[in-house]
Assembly symmetry: none
Homo-oligomer: 307 residues x 5
């Protein structure tokens, strides 16, 4: 039976059909955080996004797709997320071992000079035949091509919903509309979370927001209403409430690889801000496996302690 916490979170999604709810429940009932309503997800799309050497050379076991799903299972993650090739490689041999999330769009970094826009690299049909529990999709608010992305996402969400699959949206502000600092500005991060939620995302993944305000009118609002943004915890709070007053699952990425202490300090601040969890890629799979599991467990322990 689901815990009261899991039931409470499912109640935020009362308009969904039982299939979507059941898969959300599967994500929440798996791994070391099962039943807490918290998430630690292992995502490995860097091979596609940054190239294999930059992603896997630091810990070469990761060139093999089996490495990552095994890491996610052994560490007790809630789910493992990856592009089609990586998922397809392991879906049969590890069938039923961990919920899989098929990332349906991806962008390589070999082409330049365009507004950021990922290619659609998988389908809802793929997600079903591979036994996935959810689909994933990246949008770039601020990109000149954002409307195409929003429209494709909406169609995929509707299609996925009909077959019982929830959607996780990576909402990464980027593009001509934003300064470099603006990509992680706290006002923009909150806005990105809101856009994902309005488009129908069930789980929203954003980057930890920095102490910067990008949009002039938003900056005025933050000041006038005394919205605190000094600490990461303050900023996470604002992003979480930007996602329907906290009634959507919002998880944060760890960003670039860094030292263990630094990671855990950041995670603790994120958890204190009301985040539903972490999605941790490079900081996990670029470490030796034992160390990665230790780190992931430490992250899980932090989230498990927050009520």
């Amino acid at each position: 039976m689901a815990t009261a916490k899991v039931r409470e979170i499912l109640s935020w999604y009362s308009s969904e059909n039982p299939g979507v709810k059941a898969n959300l429940a599967r994500l929440m009932n798996t791994g070391r955080l099962a039943g807490t309503g918290k998430f630690v997800i292992l995502p490995v799309d860097q091979g596609f996004e940054h190239g294999p050497a930059r992603s896997f050379a630091p810990n070469p076991g990761g060139y093999d797709p089996r490495y990552h799903v095994e890491l996610a299972i052994e560490a007790g993650c809630n789910a493992y997320a990856a592009p089609l090739g990586f998922i397809e490689h392991v879906a049969s041999d590890y069938a039923g071992d961990i919920p899989l999330i098929l990332k349906l769009n991806n962008s390589d970094s070999l082409s330049k000079g365009h507004e950021p826009c990922s290619a659609i690299t998988g389908s809802v049909e793929d997600a079903l035949r591979l036994g996935c529990a959810a689909i994933g999709y990246t949008i770039y608010p601020g990109s000149g091509d954002r409307n195409i992305q929003y429209e494709n996402l909406r169609e995929l969400i509707l299609e996925a919903k009909a077959v019982g699959l929830p959607t996780i949206v990576w909402s990464y502000p980027r593009g001509a509309g934003l300064s470099k600092d603006g990509e992680t500005a706290v006002d923009v991060a909150g806005y990105a979370a809101q856009i994902a939620a309005q488009l129908g995302a069930h789980i929203i993944k954003v980057k930890p927001p920095k102490k910067h305000l990008e949009v002039k009118e938003a900056a005025a609002t933050f000041e006038k209403n005394g919205i605190a943004i000094d600490t990461l915890t303050d900023r996470v709070k604002e992003v979480v409430r930007s996602a329907f007053g906290g009634r959507r699952i919002v998880i944060f990425s760890g960003g670039e690889a860094k030292g263990t202490e630094e990671v855990l300090k950041e995670v603790a601040e994120i958890a204190a801000g009301g985040a539903s969890g972490s999605i941790m890629g490079r900081n996990a799979f670029q470490r030796p496996k034992a160390e990665a599991i230790q780190l992931l467990h430490a992250v899980m322990d932090i989230f498990a302690k927050v009520k």
Copy 2:
């Protein structure tokens, strides 16, 4: 039984099927203005359009999607309009409590340098499964991308009509074809209302027109024919008759948040000009709830008094 006033208004839509008429009737038979043929609608798309902080920080209860639908119900509005995420969040728990209008396109304000064009963020299929009474859509007459918008709208209207859903069009002149003042010029506002009506809109939503004439040839006509535009009431009259001689429902937005007296004065002038009602977002949900309800009631009272 419908009132004579409601029957009269429905007679303007005699070519529509009974499903569209029944939903128009539902909108007119709901709330404190039920039976008067007048409308006060609560729209909350600012989270998507302007970002969550600018929209909800002034009255932080509004970060939670439930706040708005409850405000609309408690205030006795005719309907509540919002983008997919906000509607979906409340559609099940408040099923049947108030007519819902699903806004099918939305635009964020993070990207710059393009002609204004909203992304399609919902579908007629969504409107049906969520139990909505109408769809909404924004066009930007004056935008370089207006034709795409008109063409998408026509298809959506046709699709919606077949399943008994009427369409509300937000007609907001904007884009390279217009000066800043031109966006609210009275000739442009009337033109925008006409375009929406010609495209098949059942309810047309425009901004209160300012005393400015944008198009040279139009200005000459206004002068030659002695069309009064000095008072807001004068200008509303011209906009209303621009929408098929008053035989379409035309409602006016309140625009930016402002003081209560100012709002009510403007509404009184709009009502005197023959408007069918107000659609009032920020001026409602950015106030404390009790105050917002008081304001909405005062607005309703003004419209109720106009014959």
Copy 3:
């Protein structure tokens, strides 16, 4: 806002989308019984089923389709149910005045010697374009053609559900598998309610069960488990719990025309047994209108009193 009673009943349908819930709520929020969770529905399919003279000659106003919808509106019924022609005739002129239920199959009585099976006489598309709040369908458990009926019904329910329409099933045991008495036997009535519920009916309409047990094995069970069937109230209780332990809306027809006192006595017994309401055709529309309204009000009062 919906009453606690309406919310409770909607909670029985938690797997449905908001559209289906909203239309169930509309049915429950309309008429003199609004908010009570009880139903009095006016159905007029006898013109098709028994022929016009047998149906309408006793009160010739009823030859005109407008008569019936007006009766339903004036009496404060929750809804009006009829075949396509009757609904289509009034849907435009009475748009929005009362929830309409389109009966999607009907059987005339001119052909004999076949197993009972209705023709499909309308579609979900019709229901939408006519602005209906639900579809209706008749099955004949016991008929040699029952499987065709069940399969058509299942497809219609799925199609209707997708567009937010609930389904009312008239479950009338009939056919070679049953004796004449068996058609209204209490075991058979309960079984018919169960079949409708298992097929996905949202509202189940059965006939008042008689004190007869048709199926040998069922008779043994009734006896062994001491299931009371002496009074109509006893029997209604058994039928209601046969529909998912009372967690489905079950309404009872009045059957043949009879005297007012007799009708009200029967209704009181049915109401005491936990029925959600009455669907009353001939007993209403074959009386003069004023009398019919008086009778329907009396029936409503009985249901309103039961908690």
Copy 4:
């Protein structure tokens, strides 16, 4: 990680896509028998098949659909199987709590004189939107209508497979082609298991075979080859090897309600014959819940002990 036993069983289904394997794994990784490769499933289709009173009056809690899914969860069953109405009633409120199997065809017992043939009462689309882990389907080898059933089944299996759903086939010999004793004859039971396997069933459900040989030519073969059929264990062995030499999951029903000792004795003999498990309906849900759980646990313990 899946146990070696689960991996071994999955290897029998190597031509399936990962989605089908993942759902088979879910069934094997759930409940008190998780990881053993053994199954105890609670099926409740008797309300449809035999009527509500005969099914639920002995333990009236069972009129309420929630009773059964809770029994299955509390007892630690691998899955809960039922027709659409029962599944739909609980799918949302118990989302994710136990794998659900949607029975896609059902037969009521009110109609007589036809060759046995169930109506299709659900779809693969239903199974997905309700979050089910498998579909179920009944065939009646021996029925004059068997070909229709086989053909429908094949289409459903193909459709289900494409979306990652395995199929459980209830293979119940019945119809004009068989004597009453023949329906459970050991040669016929083995034949029925073979037919289901040949049609693509992933899990095959048969009745415990009796010491009877129906088909003359089969009887000769049994004798000539010295196939033992004296004990139930002997006969179960023959049925299991009839399903691809034991390389298909074959589970046995318990049939009519009977005493606890009798049930457990029969289960022990079935388990010793190599059965993959039991599907136990009436013997479970017609007992008081505590007693039912005790019985189901005892059955599970028997299967857990067999290697």
Copy 5:
């Protein structure tokens, strides 16, 4: 029976259906390298890509499509790959003689000034009616049009898979995002292999990588992690592990025509790096046939010797 080596390679594709596996096995069980898991494929798309004179004048027999398929058969290649016209010309007369690979997109070199993007010149339907064992497709990572190519490829792979056809992807970095040297840089080659694998390619065809690093961040990674790139063998190793740690079939082209010794030296280095084989066009068909066969045999012998 397949050799252990072939079985091992097929195990990398465990999520595929038996049809895809069977065609992969056919490719591996054909020709002089049958059973070794190694490939030498003859591709002839230069007529389309470079024009007939440049391609076939050096050895004019090659103007005739029959020349090439006969060369591939006589040399004992695993397969013959070509665009639609060439395949269609020979598919009937040489039916069953050698596995055919239909290249589904091609680019001529008459148009300039666009980002590189091939036209779709065949379909999965063509591949089936022509009896092909696989489809082929070219992507240009680095091209401004790469997303269109990735999206088309994904759809074709899904479609091909459903009918049992594996896909060979020519992954050729090219376009505005890359310098001329970058097109064959070792980091870019590895990235190109990774992208093809993530998109679902079964066999990946790349060019021999040069000792150049294109992407700054990748260069830093190569240095930091001491990835050797001095010899071609080093570089091939890195490309092969970039394709899922060596768990995808990666074959290398020979590029421009050159001397026999040079070709064989290069092939030996490629084979030593763990490549699964060579795809050799111009170096084969522009030589006199006997010489070409001699060369191809020498290449096969090199691969046969590598374990």
